[in-house]
Subunit: 328 residues, 2 copies
Amino acid sequence: MREGIVELDQPLRLMSGEILDKPRISWRLLGDPHLPVVLVGGGISAGKQAWTDVCESAKGWWQAQIGPGQAVDTNCFRVLAFDYLGGNGETTGPTGWNGENGNDPALFPAIDTADQADLAACLLNALGIDRLASFIGASYGGMVAQQFAARHPQRLNKALVICAGHEATPLATGWRHVQRQVLGLGLDCGEVARAVSIARSLAMCTYRSDREFSKRFATGVNPASSATAYLDHCGAHFARRFNIYAYLCLSQSIDDHHVQPQEISVPVDLAGFNSDQIVPVRQLIALRQLLGSKCSLTLSDSIYGHDAFLKEENAVSGVIREHLESLQ
Amino acid sequence: MREGIVELDQPLRLMSGEILDKPRISWRLLGDPHLPVVLVGGGISAGKQAWTDVCESAKGWWQAQIGPGQAVDTNCFRVLAFDYLGGNGETTGPTGWNGENGNDPALFPAIDTADQADLAACLLNALGIDRLASFIGASYGGMVAQQFAARHPQRLNKALVICAGHEATPLATGWRHVQRQVLGLGLDCGEVARAVSIARSLAMCTYRSDREFSKRFATGVNPASSATAYLDHCGAHFARRFNIYAYLCLSQSIDDHHVQPQEISVPVDLAGFNSDQIVPVRQLIALRQLLGSKCSLTLSDSIYGHDAFLKEENAVSGVIREHLESLQ
């Protein structure tokens, strides 16, 4: 495995108009240099650690999918991952993203999913990779994959988009808006960790499903207590590792996401799960119709809601294998 | 119409063990004294203003259902409503409920839905009403109606429970837990109105549905902006009229709610809506089975989620009429 931080020798123009001078991109690459490259991207809290080495303490966010003989088979493909612009990793953020201009939300810069796609294209240049066999993106990564397909079609054979739509749904935007309001309250009151924890607890409620919570916590007379303890635990854990500005920035980026499906000429495979509250099945069906005949859609049953892209390892593995086999 | 505040001449023992000395209950009663009485109860933000007089500026929360010729036909029934214990109205709260002992959540008193039912029974005593023809409760009121049926069966012919289960689901508890965490942050930071507004915005996301938000806000390229403006508006409006302690108290009361359906001997009619995120259809089907042959269940299609008990006036009217006709 190779990893590093490249400093681009060219400026990057963001959709907001800001020009980032020599942005830095943190990346990780696995596999034989002669093999075709697959780029993987996950949720807003995921980065280049899609897989980890045995010497690393934590598992990668898609550890189960990547490696020799796995769905993203490193005997057949090289795998590339990077930290998002304005995210929690070591990649650059735009001016003001980390609060240096103050905490007024009006001062926070916008990062478009198109910016992430352009950053990925710059990263390919820097690494000397001409073309991707596939961009496999889930959640936020699936939005970026759509943008990459729309903006850089000559650098991509096909994309796989899991649990992501062409725009945010109004209710999911509502959930995220509330999270950002909580984060803003925390910043104004000097209660950052507490606010990040609360916002993450809310996010967890939207990432899972009624069925999963009921199955998991309805064991006693009062199932309430363990659901609340679980949410508090998830929130506190996240608050220890995740930057509040990255949370604000990428949360807003999801809500600003908009791709014109008609502008995507590269074939796209779509996959989703019936209990996803963030990307409902009806949206994936609509997106498939808008993408036309070059698109396939695989819907699977799951109790895990949006998090099925992490939790339903077998279903996701099947979708990835079928997608990558179709490339050959 | 008559209304008033009764001060009980007897103490009321709460499930927490606290004894309320001479609690005050704020109530409202409509119709001919010779007619049988129907008690109506709504959500945690609803109180005795189920209907209003023409001279009052605001409409009642169930204005469409109550009156001459309406579903709760005041030519056939008297209608009674009251403000909840520990709620936003003029009824008493338990010791410490309004923060007089401090804002540590551990110091906030618990109010059981059984306490609300016992309070209702005390109110009947005070008003000289021996027996209810029906207790028609929706949302929190539906939980109280179940408790009344379980604890005071000799005072009730039948109950109608709309959008309420025998216990909170773990996911709905999660949503409310996050709301209470936000309220706690607001209390600690002296940002009460802002916290109530954020918590209410979250509540609105859980009261409606993906389908309704998508239909309503997906008119432009960026449907996000209007959903967020709507939530901010709902939150700010609520923050101007609703007490943060009442919010905390009754939100917790929902999560503590637990009725043993097997202990209900009075016939119960149930009604619900397929898009309700708070009281999912699967729970109503399970409750119906637990209640046995003395129970009916009416499920209706709606895009309005939990708020269908307010928004689906025709469907709710039909359910109420059928219920009240079965009494005669």
